[in-house]
């Protein structure tokens, strides 16, 4: 039991930050909610599947569950969460370097803004590819879809983001002149 907890602790420490990041991007920057859902995902894993999953599968299981939680949140509607997240954002302990935090926030905002127009499945597939470096086959395993769908989704997501990026740069350039 002790070694199982140790293994789980190591797994948690390895993947909790990246799962939080994944969820935060998926949820449009809602950090508090992302952390809650990440914790719930790990709890589900610990309770139901940790001791039964084959080696190497836990990560995919985890991301699948986390993504499902995120989809549930979308379906529930966002009003309550907006208020909760706003409170959490106000109450959040500030980092020790406010300037660095501001710059990071602006960068985040830029990335998150670009996600807005993407459908959820494209967003998820691209996130798993770029942030978690999963292969198309592994992404298909997480999302329970075919590899060819992943191929198409990632390409469409990149094309759409590329166009938004180009428009944004063009708009900035025009304003500068």
């Amino acid at each position: 039991m002790a070694s199982e907890d140790e293994d789980f602790t190591m797994f948690f420490n390895d993947f909790y930050p990246s799962l939080c990041r994944f969820l935060e991007c998926l949820l449009g920057g809602r950090a508090a909610l992302a952390q809650d859902l990440a914790q719930e995902s790990f709890l589900q894993l610990h309770r139901t599947a940790w001791s039964t999953l084959p080696p190497g599968e836990a990560r995919f299981w985890l991301y699948r569950v986390a993504r499902n939680f995120a989809i549930n949140e979308f379906r529930k509607g966002q009003t309550r969460h907006r208020l909760f997240d706003r409170m959490a954002e106000v109450m959040r302990p500030r980092t020790r370097n406010p300037e660095e935090e501001y710059e990071t926030k602006e960068r985040h905002k830029l990335v998150l803004d670009m996600w807005q127009s993407l459908p959820e499945d494209q967003r998820t597939a691209l996130l798993l590819r770029e942030q978690e470096q999963l292969s198309y086959r592994e992404i298909g395993q997480v999302l329970n879809v075919s590899e060819s769908k992943i191929k198409v989704d990632i390409f469409r997501a990149r094309t759409a983001l590329r166009e938004r990026w180009a428009k944004r740069s063009h708009a900035h350039g025009a304003r500068a002149h």
Binding site: A32, Q35, M91, K151, I154, F155, R162
Partner: protein, 353 residues
């Protein structure tokens, strides 16, 4: 732009292109500016997405792990709002509205206790009617409490005459409680009173200004008993609370220990650490008194060592002087508090299991 080729660029940068096609696409890239531009844009997007990082507080991670490992389930949406996010955001919100989180927690316990009491009384009404003729003649039904898995230790005011029966009941209740040691020893409880140690009636020792912790209070006990299963839960709460408190204090002291003290003063403000310390001080006082009452010298001593540190952190100004922070850090180091808390929180948690 050739769409088929652009899609292959997407596969190429992901390493998903079949080996037989890689060379052909690379050759195409050399001569195609549109595909070169697409490749550059895709890689730029990749760096933007991959560089996205969350501002994750290490305390948050540790707390999340502790909750998952201890198998505390996720609350429902509303309960999550009450209990607070892993960063205690809602508790902080209550504080902003003027409520003391410690008092709010105590109030929740009071409400839970009242509801349990009301339910028990509702049950007992039907028991009283059935057993009324027999009460004065024989021992109360709770003589068999030891045999029942979760007996109701039924004592009401009218049956105080059956002293031996009460003593038996009290002993049987002690036996039925797993790991319960508080019932033995000189501090024997009144029969039928709650298992959980009662709060000291005297007013608390005055604390140094400006921050003075409000003395936590529990619901006063009366002669009515509570079902043993609820009492078992209440008894276990104290040990669970102690383990959690030690763990949370350890996390706070670790964070405080890592604060940078430089020539330009303390790195960043300490509002989060101060707020946390204020919350923990109240809890520390409560748990220290319980440990004293229970005769748990080790825990009481540890909590006694911890309390002044928490108070000092709670009383720090918004921008404390370097020497103020250094003094506290030195004391934490001298007493090896972090290590002691770590060892004890694990020990108490294991004992609780």
């Amino acid at each position: 732009m050739n769409c088929a080729q652009t899609e292959k660029i997407s596969l190429l940068i992901d390493g998903e292109l079949p080996p037989s096609e890689v060379r052909a696409v690379e050759r195409h890239l050399v001569g195609c500016e549109a595909c070169q531009s697409a490749r550059a844009d895709f890689l730029l997007l990749r760096s933007q997405i991959a560089d996205y990082s969350t501002l994750l507080d290490p305390l948050v991670s540790q707390r999340a792990l502790a909750q998952v490992i201890s198998r505390r389930g996720p609350a429902t949406q509303n309960a999550r709002a009450l209990i607070g996010s892993s960063r205690g955001a809602v508790l902080d919100a209550f504080r902003k509205l003027g409520f003391n989180p410690a008092l709010a927690t105590i109030a929740l316990f009071l409400i839970a206790g009242t509801v349990a009491l009301v339910l028990y009384l509702a049950q007992q009404d039907s028991h009283d009617i059935a057993s009324l003729p027999q009460q004065n003649e024989q021992a109360p039904p709770n003589v068999t409490a030891a045999a029942a898995p979760s007996p109701i230790v039924a004592v009401n005011e009218s049956s105080n005459k059956t002293g031996s029966g009460h003593q038996v009941a009290d002993n049987s209740r002690r036996k039925s409680l797993k790991g319960e040691t508080r019932e033995t020893g000189p501090n024997q409880r009144k029969p039928g009173s709650r298992i959980k140690p009662t709060r000291e009636r005297s007013s608390p020792k005055p604390l140094p200004q400006p921050f003075s912790a409000a003395p936590p209070t529990y619901a006063s006990t009366n002669d009515r008993a509570v079902p043993v299963n609820v009492a078992t839960v209440l008894a276990a709460d104290s040990e669970t609370l102690t383990a959690r408190h030690l763990e949370q204090s350890e996390l706070l002291l670790r964070a405080f220990r890592n604060i940078r003290v430089g020539r330009k003063g303390v790195g960043g403000e300490l509002s989060y650490e101060r707020k946390r310390a204020q919350e923990l001080v109240n809890q520390n006082i409560m748990l220290r008194r319980e440990a004293d009452a229970a005769g748990d010298v080790q825990v009481a001593t540890l909590l006694g060592s911890l309390e002044p540190i928490l108070l000092d952190i709670a009383n720090l100004r918004d921008k404390p002087r370097n020497d103020e922070v250094r003094t506290i850090k030195d004391r934490v180091e001298r007493q090896s508090l972090v290590a002691l808390l770590q060892v004890n929180s694990v020990a108490v948690a294991h004992a609780n299991e």
